[in-house]
Symmetry: C2
Subunit: 355 residues, 2 copies
């Protein structure tokens, strides 16, 4: 498989759905990917099984508040600048790029970066969704070191982090992203293909493309088609009646209220957000919670509405579907369960709530 002009839009739609509201709007990412593909050619998507076990995989992504990405776009050469830095430090060539998070723009952006660098894109990522913080990746769950991490901005400033644990990497990279104007580009948790085989969520690039194609190709209700594909529960169909959102410390935080329409008339759903949709509540009853994937979809088109695009009056359907099993392990929940985000909730899998 390759990403080219024929499927990049489907991938973008799929990345947004997997993003749980986060990872950033893909509109600019589609344009960047199309331009890079036109200039440098299609991007091969390779399965980890087809790479040499000792080869070096370089995860990459943007870090900052997704809201910023709408206006502060990248130059395009940020990751290209970091590749030789990573190669110099590791003393090895980078064999393939990988999306640190498949969700949202961060899932899509590596297409343009890989095209430009002449590298394939690994069919895997570090989340299977989007998460707000640097160590909230499956590589951290698997015990891979985030060091050396490398970071840059559109000006050419390069920062290398060494000897930093996941939590401090988050603090330090976040502070740097804020100083850069709310956004930077980084790579952490570089690893061998052998490590990546058990430390990533696999085949999420092909999944993203497939989800986009399901939405595009649906003959009936696209939300129904999508829900069937990912085994999602539809939590509510309704209208956004309130959005409370602020950008603080490199995050988008807030909550959203959705009044039910049609069969859901009279119900009220509240979503708690921190870059991503974290908890869905109906009269205090939890309908779904992180790390499961809660996504707000436009009711007509089944396109995901990112948290920074939520606004009063939108007709939306909220779906929730299971995260990768690695997030349901003890260490996974410690890193990215409800309590990691400050919610005093025992995690219950979404399919158990809606069985």
């Amino acid at each position: 498989m390759q990403i080219d002009g024929s499927n990049v839009r489907a991938m973008a739609v799929g990345c947004s759905i997997l993003g749980a509201g986060g990872g950033g709007d893909t509109a600019i990412g589609v344009l960047a990917a199309l331009q890079a593909i036109e200039e440098f050619g299609p991007v091969p998507v390779v399965d980890l099984d087809d790479l040499d076990d000792e080869a070096l995989v370089m995860p990459c992504g943007g870090i900052g508040a997704p809201l910023i990405w709408i206006e502060k776009i990248d130059r395009g050469d940020e990751i290209a600048r970091l590749i030789p830095v990573v190669e110099r430090i590791h003393g090895a060539s980078v064999a393939a790029l990988m999306s640190a998070e498949i969700g949202g723009s961060n899932g899509l952006a590596p297409v343009a970066w890989a095209a430009r660098a002449g590298l394939p894109l690994v069919d895997a990522d570090g989340m299977g969704r989007a998460f707000p913080e640097v160590p909230q990746v499956t590589m951290e769950v698997a015990g891979i070191s985030p060091n050396p991490a490398v970071m840059t901005d559109e000006r050419g400033n390069v920062v290398i982090f060494e000897g930093v644990d996941g939590q401090w990497m988050e603090r330090m990279e976040r502070a740097m992203a804020v100083e850069f104007g709310g956004q930077g580009y980084s790579s952490e948790y570089q690893m061998t293909v052998l490590q990546a085989k058990t430390a990533t969520v696999r085949r999420t690039v092909t999944l993203a493309v497939r989800l986009g194609e399901v939405v595009f190709g649906a003959e009936g209700d696209p939300i129904e088609a999508l829900a069937e594909e990912v085994a999602a529960a539809v939590l509510i169909e309704g209208k956004i009646v309130d959005v409370e959102r602020r950008v603080t410390g490199g995050f988008v935080r807030g909550s959203v209220t959705i009044d039910g329409l049609g069969a859901d008339s009279g119900r009220v759903l509240r979503l708690e957000i921190q870059n991503e949709n974290l908890v869905a509540l109906d009269e205090g009853e939890v309908l779904a919670m992180v790390p499961d994937i809660i996504t707000v979809l436009d009711t007509q088109t089944a396109r995901a509405v990112h948290t920074e695009r939520l606004s009063y009056g939108q007709r939306v359907s909220v779906v929730a579907f299971p995260c990768d099993p690695i997030w349901r392990t003890e260490r996974g929940l410690e890193l990215a369960g409800p309590r990691a985000f400050g919610y005093d909730l025992d995690y219950v899998p979404v399919e158990a709530i809606h069985s």
Copy 2:
């Protein structure tokens, strides 16, 4: 010459005087230096003329708000951790450490670091005083690159900066220092001895020791003895009646009002501060301005009072004396003249104002 138990206190007093109120209180630095000297032996102070021209000089210092240093002390091994990083990047051994700024604690701290590392201390520094910002060093005036810069904290986090200009180095290191809790340790502008010969303020370590010895050895008024040694004007003798000071973004900022006593009775001096004493005003008339060195001294002891220690009721004398000539060049004033700090003043040398 060497720094040992016999002269470290004199050096501390001299560093504080040269600090223009900044560079941090030396009380903890004296203890750290004494302990390191006891454990690792005295520190040789070497003139640049006595080192090999190609040898590598590593400037180093703390970065952050001096106020923080009073309570948040270092582990002691911060610079020792950075030396091998600098050596690995340069592919060369560090031949000697150098104080990035001779003023205050930052002038004294390298004594402990050099003792611990078994390295000599260069008899020079990058300011001849203290300044608040990273690129306000004579190496920047001389066109030396601040890259690679390295930075660490007491936890062992290491950050390397590449491709960063002086102004962005300031922003990025400052953001990191704030994230570290208000303070970090860093090295920028590493250079060869040959470069250092024209890119530093020379013989400031021996000057600091001499100033301390002048104060300690004064038979009459120590302020008079000191003023004679550095050709200082005494701007006022009086009492602090108001201190407005805040810690913001890694800086101490504010202003101080001093009412004259004795012969100065009826006069009021106002000092503008940003880590250092920047401008001294008497009824709107400028009596001295940065980059000349304005220091507040305890009237009885002639010990410098750092900006973070200024408080109501202190009996003080304010002296001002000439900075190194490199700061009076066009580039020097651009980096550290009154306008660099937001004061719309044409620089007039202190000795011209008080001739």
